[in-house]
């Protein structure tokens, strides 16, 4: 009993500090996001060929960036879990996978809208698009797998192995526009950024804004995952007491 009292009931002070820090992070992320929006839609120069459509690029790339970062966190946390067996790493991996799926979904949908307006089709089996869709499928499967395995330690071990193996597709998706012939624009080349210098502030602001949003969502989601695991433990404890008939 005392273990559960400590785990669940003795947290309010630490919880308040965390809440204030998370609120500060949210404010910073929203301010950066609004600044990036103004920079992308108003201040950045209009591209000569695509016109205003090119402005989709800033938030589309930032979504993809946040997704890649999230999947890298899944990879790192999975390695850390297998090395230490600390539940915290499993919590971070699960949270990063879910957040990454949200961001990669936004990148796929915004990219599809951009493709429709510039290439005349919502979808094409281009190497970048295909490998990114594969990345989405891998991490959706990862989340489905987590939901299917009930036992905590087994689930965490399976998920960690999945998280490491699944990450193999991330560098392939990133490098696909260099390795294969593709219609997808190449922004980052060996010689630097392949775009007007006046467009770079909008790009960097968007990348920074999405990085902070990712960090905020990751912490929020990790807090929920931790609480969920505690609730599961408490339920297991109560059902164990029910089975033993040890209620007074």
């Amino acid at each position: 009993m005392s273990r559960y009292r400590l785990a669940v009931f003795a947290q309010p002070a630490a919880g308040r500090v965390l809440f204030v820090r998370r609120a500060g992070l949210l404010v910073l992320a929203v301010v950066l996001l609004l600044a990036a929006l103004v920079e992308a839609l108003v201040i950045a120069p209009t591209e000569a060929e695509m016109g205003d459509l090119q402005r989709i690029f800033y938030f589309h790339v930032a979504s993809a960036w946040a997704a890649f970062l999230a999947f890298f966190v899944v990879f790192l946390a999975s390695v850390a879990y297998l090395r230490t067996r600390a539940v915290l790493w499993d919590v971070f991996a699960a949270s990063a996978a879910e957040t990454g799926v949200v961001f990669v979904s936004m990148a796929l949908v915004s990219g599809s809208i951009w493709a429709r307006s510039t290439w005349g089709t919502w979808w094409t089996w281009d190497p970048r698009l295909t490998t990114t869709l594969l990345l989405w499928l891998i991490y959706v499967s990862y989340l489905v797998m987590r939901g299917m395995v009930e036992e905590g330690q087994r689930r965490a071990t399976f998920a960690a192995v999945f998280g490491i193996v699944g990450f193999v597709d991330a560098p392939i998706a990133f490098m696909s526009i260099r390795w294969w012939r593709t219609m997808h624009p190449t922004v980052l080349t060996g010689g630097g950024f392949n775009m007007e210098p006046a467009m770079l502030p909008a790009l960097f602001l968007s990348l920074a804004a999405f990085s902070f949003i990712l960090l905020y969502l990751l912490l929020l989601r990790a807090g929920l995952e931790r609480s969920q695991q505690e609730v599961t433990e408490l339920r297991r404890h109560i059902s164990w007491m029910d089975e033993r008939g040890s209620w007074p």
Partner: protein, 72 residues
């Protein structure tokens, strides 16, 4: 559809996605808070009851040992 319409659609999807996910997380946090409160109530009730039962048992044992010792 015009370029501006596609631009608005793409940005709309991204903002909608972000807010939908935030609201979903907020909803899950609320549901978890309710669960924790419920389980806390159950376990705290159990704890108090167990303590009461233990005190009762100790009192009964003390009374029994008193009787066995021949005290009035």
């Amino acid at each position: 559809m015009s370029d501006v319409w596609y631009l608005a659609l793409a940005y709309g999807v991204i903002w909608l996605g972000l807010f939908a996910y935030l609201f979903r997380l907020a909803g899950r946090a609320e549901a978890l808070r309710r669960d924790v409160a419920l389980l806390k109530g159950m376990l705290q009730g159990e704890y108090v009851e167990a303590e009461r039962a233990q005190v009762g048992a100790m009192t009964a044992a003390a009374a029994a040992s008193g009787e066995a010792g021949g005290k009035p």
